[in-house]
Subunit: 604 residues, 2 copies
């Protein structure tokens, strides 16, 4: 196994120096923390990952979770992840003190889990979903629900899930049919099927607490008639013992990747004895669930960014060790008396490595940006500030979910290619990362759904205010960069690409205004690609400015090459990736309509 | 399992109507064949694939080839593939009569094997390599070698392989060290290790005939000192029985995909009793091996094109059956009283399907184009014509190898996405196609190597004559298309992209001329992408012209929608794919040099 699955210097550089974690600590919410304690928290996550997560990465792929005798059998490290994760505060660290948390900045928490994702992406989901489920109970549940469930979840003794998807509905939540029948005993009878439930059951949990979307009999049609319920696998009785709650584990989906992270099919109320407890008000379930959705989508992006990083580090190590071929001489031939070059010396290999580096580090920067917005929203008492960062967060969420997933897949693909034939062999982890990361573009809303969200909802939010705010953030970096002669050309390029995005919207908006939403959204996916390139170029320019100014200051935490490599990678992104916006613009602004179904079927 | 893994109508349309197989039959070499007999040959391949290949696709993935007791255990269908493949003439069909073949056009043969690849890509390689190995013996071996080995290979009783790669050398064939020591008994003693040997051993072959590159003691350095040997696993004795030839099966590489097709590690001469027989002249081994390389590279492209097609058909069937979500109404909301739409009705799903269709059918057209060039070269007695098609074939070979592999991967990725979460589950074959096709960009020279071949060797061939010839072919189609008002704008676009490729070369050539080959070739990979887009757009324009003219003629073999769908897909390719050339051109013509190693290392 390679020595390094992440570059801790780069993580700390982006978190501390670029994203400026310390700035948050002046806020009341975080006043008990200092940089030293947060650094310790991150180091402890690294130490835990080195010891308990990374060594089992391959094993978890080779011995997948599977259904057996009515439960799901998972790898023993799931137990370690849950219990030690609970101990380390990985489940509760960012929660309020009075909810049992430590009020550490979400950014620092995300950085810690990012390390774990990079070490072994099959494991952190178990605690992540438990955290999300607990947060829903804390936020919307009554005192009894809180007391009954939350402590055991935060300690990692009980797992938690979010149950949205049903076989007949998929992403179309309006079509949820799981039924909740009121009783006079304070609970509802639940019946229905849920599929693709991550962490839905395993032999190490005494209990799993499912947060289930269901429809109370007689509720309005569509998403307005969906309520949220706590439905435990085993219901706690008055004496503290557990009683089976008629939640059946029907199956565990076998997957191409992330095979250690179980994906279950659950049946509720097969013998009409499944009880659910309403969380918050009737028919508010979807809105409540979606309050957690932003964090869930950041988590998907974070996981993908981490796999991308691990794959990059692995292929980089290989490229630095493997000799093959020779440099071309000025006659176009090779000098065979020379010993073979390391493959990192070949331009095409360097191109693949720089592509990976730009995507891996850029994705990390993006994930931490969204996390910082999340922190400001939760720490601010200023209504206007809260509103501003809320809009900024809403704007970037679909991109944070999508870019690391999609570009990350491309990046890992290049990492695999760096290893040549060995990349395809199971002796090396590149092929596993390639399989593992592929689920990210499907989790928590596919790329298609994120793209519709971006163009259909976020761009139009408050008449375009969210987009304006984001553009203003970018302009600030552009202005800064323009003051450095070396960076000014890149700043100019980004500005013109940003301007072109406005022209694209001016071309598309009239379709929405005249009610032709299908046409307006038909190329939403391309618009997502366009905006992702713009945002990532912005974040690289921001990193370039930071590196440049640090170099000028002479106050270097890392060596010279470290900062220069950031500027170099920024240039790479601008040379090889940003230009893709021009072709996307051509396609987006074309008047040809080819993907909207007409009377005849042309797809044969 | 889905009903259709290929669309036979499209295959026949491209082979018969676009690529005009019948035109070949006027040539002497093919005079015994008519369209009916060739159609029968193709139908028999389909029938065989339906019955013996496709039903085992999933099983072969789930029970991979593996090393056991000194041999490799493979799925029982390998036996069927070899023996029935031999019977059906799949191994020998395109060979000369006097080599035991049927002299059928290579194009028709490739079309037949394409069907088999689409049905089950784990199997045709076994016969393909046997065919290649036999061809080398037929072409360069003496009478004894021919008589001793070829008949058993053509019948499928014995397998064949090509042994190039060694652990320390990888793609760098100059570094081959496998040793051949002359004896006075007419053979050489062989010793060395070969890795990544496809079809290198299995329990169903009485014998495997390895075609091995090795270095005779004292031979010149580099590729000029490599000779070709026949090294059987078991050597035939005078009495016809077989004797073990000290070829040890060391291991079988376990892979992410194409797991039913074994990839072996072989050790030659562990007990100093491995005999090899020289094929042709000393030190000519690499040139001889490369005579087969064009066919091998077409085969890789063909296999990738076939997997792409199978994945497309599978996702198309799913999209036509799966209801989910609803069309947006003019208020931007959905009408919940409507029943759910089929997902094929959503523009984003249609985009993914059309992308797949354009890549799958375009790749097929490309593979058959190269095959036709191959046929003309072999059937022509006109020196000038031979020379022309030789250059055209050389020009397109790296693209035929690369485009179906790289774009095919992207295409299958989109197919998987069409199925949403199910695409990632092992119950569906999309995830398998996604894994299987990934090897194509590595086989027989990676994409990096093909790109160097394209820009470094093919573009400069005879002072650019090969590229000129290809451009002339394109111009012919452009002229034709310009005469149809509906197609003229596309013709114009292709012409200007072709022109831009010249400007790119004018920008790059001076680097080569002043001996800076590293700079000249540093972005060869992007040039490959550029030229692939140009060539594919050309082939789609050609298909558009054919469909248009067929519609005008009124003489339709298929229904109206069939032809209109070809024109529609052509338009799709021009709207969504061809524009990518403009960003590639920007990157290619940039003066920034970022991927050539300087004194400092920036990739950290």
């Amino acid at each position: 196994m390679p020595k390094k699955y992440i570059d801790l210097d780069t993580l700390k550089y982006i978190l501390y120096d670029v994203r400026k974690l310390e700035d948050l600590l002046t806020r009341e919410r975080f006043e008990d923390h200092d940089m030293e304690s947060l650094d310790l928290f991150i180091e402890s996550a690294k130490e835990f990952s080195d010891r308990e997560l990374y060594p089992y990465l391959k094993e978890m792929d080779e011995t997948p979770a599977h259904h057996k005798d009515g439960t799901v059998m998972v790898h023993k490290q799931v137990d370690v992840m849950m219990k030690k994760g609970g101990e380390l505060g990985i489940i509760s660290a960012s929660f309020d003190y009075d909810a049992g948390g430590m009020q550490i900045p979400f950014m620092a928490h995300q950085a810690a889990v990012y390390i774990m994702d990079a070490a072994n992406n099959h494991l952190p989901g178990y605690v992540g979903l438990t955290q999300g489920a607990a947060e829903l109970i804390i936020e919307f549940g009554n005192k009894t629900l809180n007391e009954t469930y939350v402590p055991n979840m935060l300690s990692g003794a009980w797992g938690g899930t979010m149950c949205l998807t049903e076989p007949q509905a998929g992403s179309s939540l309006s079509d949820i049919v799981t039924k909740a029948t009121p009783t006079t005993d304070g609970f509802y009878k639940i019946s229905g099927q849920k599929i693709f439930i991550s962490g839905g059951d395993h032999q190490y949990a005494d209990n799993i607490v499912h947060l289930v979307l269901a429809r109370i009999e007689g509720a309005p049609q569509g998403t307005k008639g969906i309520s949220l319920f706590v439905v435990p696998k085993n219901r706690p009785k008055a004496d503290g013992t557990l009683e089976y709650n008629d939640v059946m584990t029907v199956a565990d989906f076998q997957k191409m990747g992330q095979r250690g992270y179980c994906t279950t099919h659950l049946g509720f109320g097969d013998t009409d004895d499944c009880r659910g407890w309403l969380v918050g008000d009737e028919n508010k379930g979807l809105a409540q669930m979606f309050l957690m959705m932003n964090a869930a989508r950041i988590a998907v992006g974070r996981g993908a960014a981490a796999i991308t990083m691990a794959a990059y580090r692995t292929s980089l190590q290989y490229a630095n060790e493997r000799p093959q071929g020779r440099k071309l001489t000025s006659t176009g031939k090779k000098n065979l008396t020379e010993k073979q070059s390391l493959i990192i010396e070949h331009p095409d290999v360097r191109r693949m490595l720089l592509l990976q580096k730009s995507i891996a580090e850029g994705s990390l920067s993006l994930v931490l940006l969204a996390s910082k917005y999340h922190d400001i929203i939760h720490a601010s008492s200023d209504k206007e500030e809260k509103e501003k960062y809320n809009l900024l967060l809403e704007m970037v969420i679909p991109i944070v979910k999508t870019f690391p997933s999609e570009a990350g897949s491309v990046s890992v693909n290049n990492g695999l290619q760096v290893l040549g034939g060995y990349g395809f062999c199971t002796d090396f982890t590149l092929q596993q990362y390639y399989r593992d990361i592929r689920i990210s573009a499907l989790y928590e809303g596919t790329t298609g759904i994120q793209s519709q969200d971006l163009l259909g909802r976020k761009v139009t939010l408050q008449n375009g205010k969210a987009l304006e705010l984001l553009a203003a953030e970018m302009m600030q970096t552009i202005t800064q960069a323009s003051q450095h002669p070396e960076l000014a050309p890149y700043a100019k390029e980004l500005a013109s690409t940003l301007k072109l995005s406005q022209e694209i919207l001016q071309k598309l908006m009239p379709f929405a205004m005249k009610g032709d939403y299908e046409r307006y959204l038909s190329d939403a996916n391309l618009f997502m690609e366009y905006m992702s390139l713009v945002v990532l170029s912005w974040l690289w320019l921001e990193m370039g400015v930071n590196a440049k100014e640090t170099l000028a200051s002479g106050d270097l935490k890392y060596d010279l090459n470290f900062y220069e490599s950031k500027i170099h990678t920024m240039k790479f992104y601008f040379k090889y990736e940003l230009p893709k916006t021009s072709s996307l613009a051509t396609s987006l602004m074309s008047d040809e309509v080819l993907t909207i179904k007409q009377d005849k079927e042309y797809i044969l």
